[in-house]
Amino acid sequence: VTLTHTSAGSATRRRRGAARQSRAGMAFVAAYVILLIAFGVLPTAYAVYFAFTDAGGTFTGISNFVTTAHDFRFMGAVSHIAVYLVFWLASLVVFVVALALLLHRLASGTVSKALRFLYYIPGALAGAASVLVWLFMLDPTVSPVSSLLSVLGFHTFGEVIAPGNLPLLFTIIAFWTGSGGWIVVMYGALNNIPKDVMEAARIDGANAWQTAWRVQIPMLRKWIIYMVILAFAGGAQLFVEPQLLSLASVGVAGRDYSLNQLTYDFAFQLNNINGAAAVSVELLVVSVSAAAVFVARSGFFDAE
């Protein structure tokens, strides 16, 4: 009796402990869920409501989508964003993974630490501030690297920001600001690859290149996909870079460049909040669909 009693008692205690733990878990999750609803779900719902109604709140079907798609800037903005996303995602995947692998290879602790810090610094600057840094870098008359620019054939700011150069410029700026954090994340992921796997590869005679290509990159796959999903959503919302460039160049380059800028124009210059909401809903649908494709194709949520 005593024995059962004790075990029952400890079971209760255990259950109580588990209950307390799950309550704590709930509290943590609840805080997030409340914020998610207040600042994520509700505004999205609000935008969807706006997208299908007119200024008076009457249901208008898809007319906001049709009007905005017929705007003469719409297709231009779509193609700008498409080209930019190709540049940006390709550079992100190739260079972030390559740099993370290099970093991981470096035996020396100090060099590796220093490099990790160095990569991360630009990410610590606020988005707008880092764009301003680049506006200086790209103006040959004030740039610290003006000799490099002049070797490349650029002598005035106008030449640097020619329309054909914009996707590349925005990619460079975005990479410089955004990639550092991802390099550190990938580095962490590389450290999580079990030592025995790496050792087995080495014993089997794999060289650095083979280890990277056949062992490390496949094991990083989920992280790379995670990065691509978030970078796609972020890149589709391109705004700060072209907007600041347009201010800096007094409108020569970057005005009405991206879809997000177009929504800003609709909302505030044409006083068409509903049209703006329609375009932002389109962006949401595209980003969510892209994420869904990546998740489905990669088995992102499959257990190891």
Partner: protein
Amino acid sequence: MTVNKPASSSKRVISKKRAALLAGCAATVLLTVSACGGGSGAGTTTKDGFAQAAQKDGALTVWVDATRLDAAKLYQKLHPEVKMDIVSYDGDANGSNYLQTKVQLFNRTHKGWPDVVFSSQNNEATWAVDAGFAAPLNKGLIPSATLANFASGANDVCTVGGTVYCLRNDLSQAVLWYNAPLLKKWGYTVPTTWEEYQQLGEKVAKEHPGYLVGDAGDTFTPEIYLWASKCGANHITGPKSVSVNTTSANCTKMANLLDTLIKDKSMSISGVFSTDFGKNKKDKVLLMPGPAWYGSALFQGTFKTPAKQIAAAPIPQWKGDPSPSTGNVGGGTWLLSQHSTHIKAATDFLKWVTTDNAYQGSKAPGFPAYAPAADVWLKAQGAAGYFNGDLSALKTASSQVWPEWGSGQFSQEAIWAATVKPGLTQGKSIVSMLPAWQDAITKYAESDGYKVSK
């Protein structure tokens, strides 16, 4: 203020959440404000031609650009009893639409409007009236005697259906600025026709390479040259209608002149406010067609050209043209908010800043739109001794601005910047881009709801 304006999204992971957070905050604020903002309808009157909010004590909020900051500060100094909140913003320069963006937001939150605003643009009335922001000024607020003293046509850009909704700060009629000692030293004379101007430009290119007879790289280039040449690119024919024809002879002959001089390199394409011009070309200016405010804002302020060099002459005309014409670059406007709760103080400030000699007559950098102040201003400029000779060319030009170029809601400067400027940098001729320019004006005008004819 300019920098934090558009920061709603960026590339990083965190910023996506931050953007959502911001949007959420905005939504919450919006809901709260509209929920609490219902009670302000009490105590309103409709004198002076609009529904006025209940008047209150409190600070007078004035928005100005960096240049007009001096005006607001001077007013504060002379009227220490007025509580003022002076906010500096970009003045809507280059069609940034900052003011419009903010007013649309304030209209949603039902508060936050400034009492008096300066804008460097002439087209604010095209939206500020529909947005219910600009107060009518000739229905009681500003006496008609005061309004009558403005230079003729000065407040046309502020007038919608016979009602005046803003006051013009300065006229920006274009004249021909030139370096008088240098011109004399080289034995040239001031050109009076565009034909002479072109010949001189070609001569300068050969005899003194590197020196300039003008600049065609600014966003307001069409407003200096093509407007003066009577090119019908921007004829506002009604509140929502515009006639656009950029390929007429008046347009092409001026475009050809510019192309010739650009090829000769005696016409710069950098833009006078570019870092490139400031570093490499500011001491190479022989002639420079440009607006009235070039005198003090550009030569004296930005270029720091020594005194007694810069002089003003009438802008050249096409040979045989019986009616002289010139262009105009901006010339700001002052608006008073319908929502102001300090209308008395706001009106006093507005009257002072546009007409009083303490500012317009002596301190203003541009040619005052208020005629009595303009006379005082001209005398003051002569007495100050910066310019070589008097500025009477400005007074003559003030009545010669070609009236068939208007101020629509779309920004001609922004359109030129995005359409023609990149091609110019790549070496295309202006003449070859005139049709594309027309196409762009048409598209922008139509997207703003204008009916476009040719």
